[in-house]
């Protein structure tokens, strides 16, 4: 991925701010020595890992992006609950009704962070687990394979999260 110099500094600044926020949340108070230690360590890490991914890397700080972010987390928690109840239902059934398999799906997302979030979200939603990712192709292990067809599986597994992540990360 080719990036301009300014966007690289922007990533570094965002990573620094994220680290600093976490550090202050962890410490829970604002004092001179805590601020100094936090600044120095955050700065060093931000400079060393500027090519890495962090929570807000490539995030679009636009109103639409932020609203999509909130809606994404609402949807995410709903799916997380659903997946746990679905799993409990399978595990508690004496016949253990599963028909597992690994299916291939395709994503429209381009950004690295968007794809990472998509893979993570899929893992935490009902009956699906991301096993491998190659470019735009994701290989998903399903507890119950509904359809081995790529288009149908994509619509079923990927589309829900993709619509939000597309606005957030692109």
């Amino acid at each position: 991925m080719d990036k301009g110099k300014s966007s690289k500094w922007r990533d570094t600044a965002i990573l620094f701010a994220t680290l600093m926020l976490f550090w202050l949340m962890l410490e829970g108070k604002l004092e001179a020595d805590i601020l100094i230690v936090g600044t120095v360590v955050s700065l060093v890490i931000a400079l060393l890992y500027r090519d890495g991914l962090s929570f807000f890397t490539e995030f679009r700080f636009t109103p639409a992006g932020i609203i999509a972010g909130f809606r994404y987390y609402g949807y995410f928690f709903k799916e997380l609950f659903k997946s746990n109840f679905a799993l409990a239902a399978i595990v508690l059934r004496p016949s253990l009704p599963i028909a597992p398999g690994i299916v291939k799906v395709r994503t429209k997302l381009k950004s690295r962070m968007g794809r990472l979030m998509l893979a993570n979200s899929i893992t935490l939603t009902p009956g699906t687990l991301t096993v491998e990712m190659e470019g735009e192709w994701l290989y998903i292990h399903c507890v119950t394979v509904a359809s081995a067809d790529i288009e149908a599986a994509t619509a079923e597994i990927v589309s829900g999260f993709e619509s939000y992540l597309e606005v957030m990360y692109g």
């Binding site: 949340m25 292990h141 507890v143």
Partner: protein, 112 residues
Amino acid sequence: MGLILDMIGGLLLVSGASFLLFGGLGLVRMPDIFNRIQAGAKTTTLGTLLTLAGAACLQPAWGLKLLLIGVFLIFTNPVSAQVLANAAHRRGTQKTPLTKVDHLAEDRGDKS
């Protein structure tokens, strides 16, 4: 107010623990490693999150730190599950005979 918060906290702790129990049951009952990872990854995420939320209700002063733990959990738990599943698949770990399709093995053109 304190009593209500205590009750909510207790309820959250119990429901979190129940999901962890189902996850454990899933680990025992599921037939192969991929299905076991599925059981483990989902239930530990929600189970631990509910437990953390319950603890936050009982000890509001810890709220911020517990929230931070929850955030890290949401991001790291699925990653570890994916890495384990990927490693198992690369190694050609035995899949349950119930398995219907495996596009990944087909695309790699290898043993199944």
